[in-house]
Symmetry: C2
Subunit: 786 residues, 2 copies
């Protein structure tokens, strides 16, 4: 259907995708409702008339159609690929809450409803946690099994993966846990032998065939059923969280297909992770579960709160927290060097603290930070350039072929090297691990003189491992650039961390051997005595992983928190902070965007980066529309326009809303009406046209009181009910910096511009983003949506 994936032309492809998903999508149920005329409930025209006559008895007008009293379905919802109005959504939720609270005093069932409403947030979080946790567990188990299937099969039951197969075996020894007769490689199954060149070739071929099969299935499933299931999903979710509507992006089909294809993509051995897509899966769960609760089903803002809680709260800006962390750290260090307690305890109620690193080691940690920053900056540029190329050239037209080629190349190149053959998370786990004496890993092939002295010169195994790791580093760096952005689910955490972990481990082993051979040098003398195990290469791997992840994603403090969660070690905070801070500074010097922001921009989504510095001296009048040369702003007057005139204005323009003024001469602002609400309401009027006698000549009133009219003329239409009486305004002299801040903080969709009380123009979120793009010397037309 769509061949482009990421790109300018995916406005169209996203639209196609959305129409495919339309029927099955769950979000759509709340936000679509566009077939207005069918949805209008069969109102009794007599009642409606009589009711209007009663409420407007004072003016003596019996022919007034009042849309204030009976809300038209669809009014207050949003179109696809549009930005929501946070202020309006929050206000709607407060109205609902107030209604429930006031009712709860009247009866016991209402009281129970009020209580259940209050607790529904917590219940929802519980359900989201249970469901997404279960899915994450299932994906993990299946991906393990499929990955091992590429190597062989378990004879005692095909459903066992390699590890569990040998657990059940009696012939497994502790030293060689991976080897047992029940687990047969493909060479053994097909050729009967597990040694020799032909067996190697059989294994090699089967490895590639399985990988291609998995990748093919993944890309075909994504293309056929849920185009939104590709990629990591984080850029889109960031945009959705900021208030954008992409119908179907968090729907049922996306969830199902993303879950299945994620397993396949991970198993195919491609250089991708599953953490980012898992966030997308969790948000899909949150969205689907939100529809069980009225509170969330009907409110875009409340739903977004849940998405945020479900998986991406660590993406919120945390500059202050980050700096305060830094201050606390320095304070702690000072306290330790003053040493008031005579021991080196850092905390009030000391439980446990040991420092397996020395201040001197901060130098290599900072070096790792620089490496991570450089890698992050280069990766982002290369990946964006590649994605742009995919979009603009014929490459984008063959996504299946692209996936197959990349998978084939990955499988071909990764099989010979054991460090690339294993999965990314296994690799990282191995690199993080410290060597114990019983460890059979190649990386732990140190020459051991005795069992008690931890002094470890590297043996030939270690040197082989180092060579293999160096090759793996180059391979991973290159292949990840072309992998991220293909039409399969793909995360970046694991590949980025793998690159950093390899670099860190290499440096760590280097430092270790340096310290071993230069115990007496000035650097090591004071803290690294002979025979002491003073350098932990695994820590270097961890620091390197954090640095690279920081360079690519630019989440620093949240990153350190994630690293804690992954490793559980509080004592490594200083190395981690030093490396991630350096990495961020270095990477920011080449461009302040993280990979996700870069992809958001590539796709033209209307995302107002909360932290982006903006230093222009422009005023609101420079950014607003109409520009000086444009025709004047299309405005409605609060009285005196006919239905026909209003319909003509709607048909002639494509603005998403119209200001309503007192009269054309004074341009004094009364309110703002959204195009969608106006279209729906006039459509509802049209449906009732014959019974009511509303014709094109009927007058439209946005005023509070409709003046008495001659009974002979056509009845008037009163639309004050759908008029936003508190539109946001700024003056023409407001600096754009302040305007941008207001848009960010209040989540506005548009703001009107006034001069000395007169309406001058309008600024939409798109105008703000276009202006910011222009200021940053980017193409303003890359902003596609409103």
């Amino acid at each position: 259907m769509d061949t482009s994936g990421y790109g300018n032309d995916n406005y169209e492809s996203l639209h196609n995708a959305a129409s495919d998903d339309e029927l099955v999508d769950i979000i759509a149920g709340a936000t679509l409702d566009f077939s207005i005329t069918d949805d209008v409930p069969p109102l009794d025209p007599e009642y409606s008339l009589g009711h209007d006559a009663y409420t407007n008895g004072k003016t003596g007008n019996t022919k007034l159609m009042d849309l204030l009293d009976e809300p038209v379905p669809g009014v207050g919802t949003y179109e696809d690929f549009n930005t929501i109005d946070w202020v309006r959504e929050k206000s709607k939720d407060r109205d609902r809450h107030r209604e429930i609270t006031s009712k709860s005093k009247l009866s016991t069932p209402a009281l129970l409803e009020s209580i259940s409403d209050a607790f529904s947030g917590w219940l929802l979080m519980l359900l989201i946690g249970l469901w997404s946790g279960a899915l994450a567990g299932g994906i993990d188990i299946l991906a393990h099994w499929l990955t091992d299937l590429k190597e062989g099969l378990c004879l005692s039951g095909f459903w066992y993966d390699h590890e569990h197969c040998c657990w059940g075996s009696n012939e497994t020894t502790f030293q060689e846990r991976d080897k047992c007769p029940e687990w047969q490689s493909w060479a053994e199954l097909l050729g009967g032998s597990s040694v020799g060149a032909s067996a190697y070739i059989v294994d090699y071929l089967m490895f590639i065939i399985w990988a291609l099969l998995f990748a093919f299935l993944a890309v075909i499933l994504v293309r056929a059923f849920a185009p939104y299931a590709c990629g990591s999903g984080i850029p889109e979710i960031k945009t959705i969280l900021s208030g954008f509507i992409i119908r179907g992006y968090l729907g049922k089909w996306t969830l199902i297909i993303k879950t299945v294809t994620l397993v396949l993509a991970v198993s195919s051995g491609l250089s991708l992770g599953k953490e980012g897509p898992l966030v997308h899966v969790a948000c899909c769960c949150a969205n689907i579960l939100c529809h069980l609760f009225t509170k969330y089903r009907k409110n875009e803002a409340k739903r977004r709160e849940k998405y945020a809680a479900a998986g991406v709260s660590y993406y919120f800006p945390l500059k202050t927290l980050w700096r305060s962390f830094f201050a606390a750290l320095v304070a702690a260090f000072t306290l330790r060097s003053i040493n008031p307690f005579g021991n080196s305890r850092l905390v009030l109620f000391y439980v446990e603290f040991h420092t397996p690193w020395h201040m001197v080691e901060l130098v290599p940690f900072v070096l790792l930070g620089i490496f991570g920053g450089l890698w992050g900056a280069i990766f982002i540029r290369a990946n964006i350039a590649w994605c742009r190329r995919r979009k603009n050239t014929c490459l984008g037209r063959y996504p299946v072929l692209e996936v197959l080629v990349v998978t084939g190349a990955t499988a071909l190149l990764s099989f010979p090297n054991s460090y690339t053959r294993m999965s990314g998370s296994e690799l990282i786990s191995e690199l993080f691990n410290d060597c114990s004496l019983l460890d059979s890993s190649q990386l732990c092939g140190y020459i051991t003189y005795s069992n008690t002295i931890p002094d470890r010169p590297a043996g030939p195994d270690v040197y082989t491992a180092l060579w293999q790791l160096a090759l793996a580093l180059v391979f991973k760096m290159l292949i990840t650039v072309v992998t991220f952005g293909m039409k399969v689910p793909s995360g970046l955490f694991i590949p980025s961390m793998a690159v950093g972990a390899i670099a860190g481990r290499l440096l760590g082993v280097g430092m270790e051997q340096l310290a071993l051979n230069h115990h007496d040098s000035a650097i090591f003398k004071s803290w690294c005595s002979p025979g002491a195990d003073c350098i932990t290469p695994g820590l270097y791997a961890m620091v390197g992983a954090a640095a690279c992840l920081g360079g690519v994603t630019r989440m620093t403090i949240s990153l350190v928190v994630i690293m804690f969660e992954l490793t559980g070690g509080l004592e490594y905070i200083v190395p981690l902070m030093a490396a991630t801070m350096t990495s961020k500074w270095v990477a920011d010097a080449f461009g302040r965007e993280g990979i996700y922001e870069a992809h958001i921009r590539l796709n033209g989504y209307p995302f107002l980066e909360p932290k982006e510095e903006y230093g222009s001296k422009a005023l609101a009048q420079d950014v607003m529309r109409p520009r000086r040369s444009d025709p004047p702003l299309a405005v409605l007057t609060q009285e005196g326009m006919s239905v026909g005139e209003v319909e003509a204005m709607v048909a002639d323009t494509d603005y998403s809303g119209f200001p309503v003024v007192v009269c054309q001469e004074s341009q004094r602002l009364v309110g703002f009406i959204l195009r969608r609400d106006l279209v729906i309401s006039l459509g509802a009027c049209n449906a009732r046209q014959r019974q009511e006698g509303v014709v094109s000549a009927s007058l439209v009133f946005f005023t509070d009181h409709v003046p008495a009219q001659p009974t002979s003329g056509p009845p008037a239409v009163k639309l004050r009910g759908i008029l936003d009486l508190s539109p946001f305004t700024v003056t023409d002299h407001t600096p754009m910096e302040i305007t941008v801040d207001i848009f960010r903080k209040l989540g506005l969709r548009q703001s009107l511009v006034t001069h000395n009380g007169r309406l001058l123009g309008i600024i939409t979120k798109k105008d703000v983003l276009k202006h910011m793009a222009q200021m940053a010397n980017r193409d303003p037309d890359s902003i596609l949506f409103n």
Copy 2:
């Protein structure tokens, strides 16, 4: 000077305090500058005139005084006890930043300045960390020494505290670390004997005398030099962070006196902690250091960022993070019960995890949460009632006597019970600790059958300890209510945690003995086999402490993070979360305010609680001034008013600012001018009156172009430079909910209200707070400041 402390009448007392501090205060340097006429730089009137003539050559007016070109010192600063305008401050900072950036392209020194400016934030954080860390260390050492001085003296050097004295001794045994001949109690020093009733009485008396002496010194120092040094400081710092100005609150004298008196107050044995005051001390350090950097000295908003980072970032609202934490937790649990890896690892790269608690124990943990919530709610009510009584009755007039009486009572009652005699942090430390076999503590007086079986029935020592702890619990609960709010530095963390830790330890020992005696019951059978050490009373103490702290302060997630920092244990997250969540729910049922918010309200500070739910249907027109019966809004017109008329309007009213309109008839808004800026500018005009010929009849212009005037008349005064051309406006139909949200998010000081483009009225932060107080059935006149 002031006898009230917390209370309505401390507007006056705070003012007195501020004037005392005026000369020495560092904040004042940046925000005061009120003696305008002296500060005006000696401008050359000829140059000024010629310059004006040149720039306004087109209008042919040579007599125009333009205040736009030469900023008058003092314009743009704030008066004491006023709210800052965040939008304006941020805008100022951006202007400064832009200027530095544009200059940096011109010369190398300017480039260096630009770089140093960029790094000054980090340097500042480093310095703040170093200084506040050093102060915290010093306070800790001194408080330890003074606390031990109440008991005795070290013969080998009076500057040693008890612990360090016996470290230097050769006769200290491991079992009795506290006993050595070098450390002499007062009975030994004065009476020569350490046993017997008379020795006990001597020690008792000396204990009380020292306590009274320390407390007396503390209260006298606070009253004489820095009244702002009393209390915890957190309520005021929260208010300052929200944008309020209290000159001298973070000044040099406050820092010095608070540091000294904090040591004395802690040593006096009063039931108070030093954590809250340390936050205040850190903020003082931040403020003083901010004055080293232009970037921060001149900007109230940037300075507040540093205060926040320096110590109170954990007070920011974290609802979303908190809920997402909960979701992550449930997901982790689900993952563990599915158990995809065959072991019970919870994290991706498993390092270490052990669970020293069982699901069944969540019942007592939740009970502790309920206790904590109840205690928090009762404590807040009792403490606020007591503080209000102090304020309104004659009690408030004798603060020194009050401190002495409370200190005397505390010393008298706490000496006989070893758990109250020791300091709060020592007590908590002892309660958190698990008993090892060598532990000599009374609480660890279990009957040990052998050295290997950890099965421990309680011995008589334990029962004695339990009784003493129960008495200590009652004592602490009562004395803390009257202690917090006295005129000495006092924190709440330690006393609250102590109450919870005692309750938790009591419950923990109870559970332990229950499990010991009922191994076979259905509850314990499955997980607590005989001989196993299945319950950790120390964990109960920790959970109880977190619950009570949560009940009093209502910081939940931040609290859990703090508990991690204090104890370093990640594995206790579930018990801590269960207890703090329960505690918050229970406490919130009795009132949503934490102790700090309650004190802010008691003092009438203008603090807009970020999380407070607000459910009124009022519109902006219901809250704005002027009310229907009031005289019309005092407005300036943009032309046609004379200096005399403006001065008369300023003199007749006490509003903090005036809207400027096109003309009285149309009421179309041009801008907003702050009273302070207007007064200063007109004052500067007066100073130049004779040379320039500006008289009362001179016309004031706020327009861009001043019309040509007859050369015979007095020269006009042009004030557009100090006019805010982008005042914030809302329409009269804007719901107050949205208005409150805008005030919160943008940090506004006031907003103008319009109807159909005409100016109707004004809403200030004080109006908003008064309205919210009215909605919550509180006295609206309790809001004292603007």
